[in-house]
Amino acid sequence: MVFALGAALLLAGCTRTDTHRPVDDEARRRDQALVAVIQCFVDNRAIPEGDLRGQPWLVDGRVRAGAELVEWLSVHRDTVYGGRTLQTWENEATAVWPRWTCPL
């Protein structure tokens, strides 16, 4: 829900006349933050094997950005890894991006 509100407030703040759309920046930062968070979890084995089995976005231990990652996120939004839900991790990393570092 925090994600939704944050995104919505950011989205609502923009106007059509902007030539450089902040929403695109927001999405781009969110994309990069998500990949970094999940790579961090994968590297530190913070995600149970079962959650990753057969996932096409994970190739030789590297997280491959794409629609498949969004689909996986969608069914793990409320999954708790390292004490917080995945959505919370993503929101927090996005908020400070690009200064986020893997805490594990």
């Binding site: 923009c14 929403v23 998500l34 629609a67």
Partner: protein
């Protein structure tokens, strides 16, 4: 070796006609006879009757073939069906001479087909040489075609022989048609209908000796796909509805005609009367719209449904066709006014084309059909999902290439329809801009097909779809109506999905687009009305969010994914009506729909985590009925936990999701 017998063609024809009549009567009466005799407890066996009827049909066809051959032989002997009488050609009163006919070599369906095909070629050739209309002479061929619509052997041989000619038939009929009137007259229409029906039948029938192969061979199909696009389109225009066609054949023809249109290779037949005045030019534009081959094929493919999904749902080629369809080019070219106006106007420079006729309805129907497969794990559902991806991408491409341009109303309505059918997929996609694709849910093979699209592309689609206040209202109403299911699905989904949160992201995106539009107050009233009417219609209508008779029956997740039935979307756009409905029972309406507590509590009931007390006055016939008792009950249970959250938390989550539009 053949068995030659002497026959009188005229007598043979009479015999054939009687045999056909006999078959017709048998075919008509047999089911009744069987039924009656069974009812009366007859001991006579009638099981053989249907096969006897089929044999009678074969006999009639054999005899038709022999008659055709006999007349051919008579012509070879110098006899002609037409003879000069009093200076004009009339039917020959002299009977044809006796001929020696090979009784055994004929009578095969394929033989008849080849005969009919040769006859067709001869008639068209004669018509070209003499400059006369072939329509009348072709009636017998059409008649024969109609008698063989369930005969795979006949149809296979016929189309193998005639496909290249049929692929130009409409134009020939036009070129040799009467000097005035529409591009194709009634007799041409009748002929093309017979050919269209035979083509559709050939596309569906399999060859008896090779059951895997369609009666319509690849070579015949190639000939049609590379033929004259306008003529091929007319076979579809006058042919049977889309459901009578094989989806793959229809998809192939759709691609061929869209390619031809894209390459500017559709050549239109010229107007019959020529263009001497501006009225003529305007009429010709109307004719182009009425005899548009691409509109014809798109309409048939949309009626078929699966054909549209084969075209747009192909992961490799679908996007190219989606780009052709999601466009503002759905109009006739218009005419140059210069020849019709005085010189004083010409001085002002070029005059833009006049008299264009806009009709994006066939393209829009095609887009709707392409995204309309039921959700599931099969190929059709997969294609439907890919169609969504391609339509979203094509819309984004259109917006980028044409800044400020708006798609035709019908296309925008189709986009709204797509957004409605794939609302949870779109909600999930908000916020990330990686890539777009169709995939099985959770990336697990065997799950239903879902869609992820780039957030920026989704925004472009909603920006096109949502322009008028009523459109915003309708779409928000669709989202509101899903709150119940979003709550229920979030609880019941064994994964850790949070559908309420995803819906919130979509609300935010829509609100941002709304802010950009700067609507004035009066417009906002219309929007509210549309929103409330849609939510009400979906709550109480086909969506049934508040009227589950079997709360967990097919699964709230499945229902959430599947979403609303289409009619609600169309009907709800009638905002005049919506306003009246809302005015009439504004208070009751607000109580029922706009209070978020009702859908939330209903969602918890649907999910099976909240069981209303037996004596609860606010719960009747499986439905939450808002009243003072409900308010009291909610305040008493605010901290009670249901499905992992307290009631208060659930209500707040839904409120936060919907806050942006209040």
């Amino acid at each position: 070796m053949g068995e030659f017998v002497g026959v009188d063609p005229a007598n043979l024809r009479e015999l054939t006609a009687r045999l056909q009549r006999l078959h017709d009567v048998l075919a008509r009466q047999t089911p009744v006879v069987q039924q009656k005799m069974q009812k009366w407890g007859s001991e006579i066996g009638f099981a053989a009757l249907p096969s006897l009827v089929a044999e009678a049909l074969d006999d009639a066809r054999d005899m038709t073939a022999r008659t055709g051959r006999a007349y051919e032989l008579a012509r070879e002997k110098g006899w002609s069906p037409l003879a000069p009488a009093g200076g004009v050609l009339a039917f020959n009163q002299d009977p044809p001479p006796l001929v020696q006919l090979d009784w055994t070599a004929l009578g095969q369906s394929a033989g008849q087909a080849r005969h009919d095909a040769a006859e067709l070629a001869r008639i068209l050739g004669d018509a070209t040489a003499s400059g006369t209309s072939p329509a009348e002479a072709l009636r017998s061929v059409a008649e024969s075609l109609r008698g063989h619509l369930d005969d795979a052997d006949y149809l296979a041989a016929f189309w193998d022989s005639i496909a290249p000619l049929a692929a130009g038939l409409a134009r020939r009929l036009h070129d040799r048609g009467p000097a005035a009137g529409p591009l194709l007259d009634a007799s041409a229409a009748t002929l093309l209908a017979a050919f269209g029906a035979a083509l559709a039948a050939a596309s569906r029938l399999r060859r008896p000796e090779r059951p895997g192969d369609p009666a319509l061979s690849r070579a015949a199909l190639d000939a049609l796909e590379s033929g004259d696009p306008w003529s091929v389109g007319m076979l579809l225009k006058y042919g049977p509805p889309g459901s009578s066609w094989d989806p793959a054949v229809l998809a192939g023809l759709t691609r061929a005609l869209l390619d031809a249109r894209h390459a500017g290779k559709i050549s239109w037949p010229s107007p019959r009367q020529g263009i001497g005045s501006e009225a003529d030019a305007a009429r010709y534009q109307r004719e182009m719209a009425g005899f548009d081959p691409v509109a014809a094929v798109l309409t048939r493919a949309a009626e078929n449904g699966e054909a549209a999904r084969q075209v747009l749902g192909d992961p490799h080629s679908g996007l190219a066709y989606a780009r052709m369809l999601v466009s503002d080019s759905w109009h006739t070219p218009g005419y140059d006014r210069t020849p019709f106006v005085g010189d004083y106007l010409k001085a002002d420079g070029p005059i833009p084309p006049q008299g264009q006729i806009f009709d994006a309805a066939p393209a829009a129907a095609f887009l709707r059909a392409a995204v309309s497969a039921p959700r599931g794990t099969g190929l059709d559902a997969q294609r439907s999902a890919w169609s969504v991806v391609h339509i979203v991408t094509a819309t984004s491409d259109f917006a980028k290439a044409n800044p400020g341009a708006l798609l035709p109303h019908e296309i925008r309505q189709a986009l709204l329809y797509t957004a409605d059918r794939y609302l949870p997929d779109f909600a999930k996609s908000v916020g990330h801009d990686f890539s777009s694709m169709a995939l099985p849910r959770g990336n697990e093979a065997g799950n239903p097909w879902v869609v992820v699209v780039r957030s920026s592309h989704l925004e472009a689609l909603l920006d096109q779809a949502l322009q008028e206040p009523e459109e915003f209202g309708t779409f928000t109403g669709m989202m509101n109506a899903r709150v119940t299911l979003a709550v229920a699905a979030t609880i019941k989904d064994p994964s850790d999905a949070d559908y309420v949160s995803e819906m919130a992201g979509l609300y935010g995106l829509v609100q941002r687009l709304h802010n950009d539009q700067h609507f004035v107050n009066a417009q906002l009233k219309d929007e509210e009305a549309a929103r409330d009417q849609t939510a009400l219609a979906l709550f109480t209508g086909s969506f049934g969010a508040l009227s589950f008779s079997n709360p967990w029956g097919p699964g709230a997740i499945a229902q959430f994914l599947t979403g609303t039935a289409a009619p609600a979307v169309d009907a709800s756009l009638d905002t005049g009506h919506a306003l009246e409905a809302v005015k009439e029972n504004a208070d009751a309406f607000r109580d029922r729909v706009l209070h978020i507590e009702v859908p939330v509590v209903q969602g918890l009931v649907v999910a099976g985590v909240l069981r209303p007390p037996n004596d609860a006055p606010w719960f009747r016939s499986g439905m939450v009925v808002p009243d003072a008792h409900l308010v009291e009950w909610i305040s008493e249970h605010a901290e009670t936990r249901y499905g992992g959250k307290s009631l208060q938390q659930w209500i707040r989550a839904a409120q936060e999701a919907m806050r942006m539009q209040q």
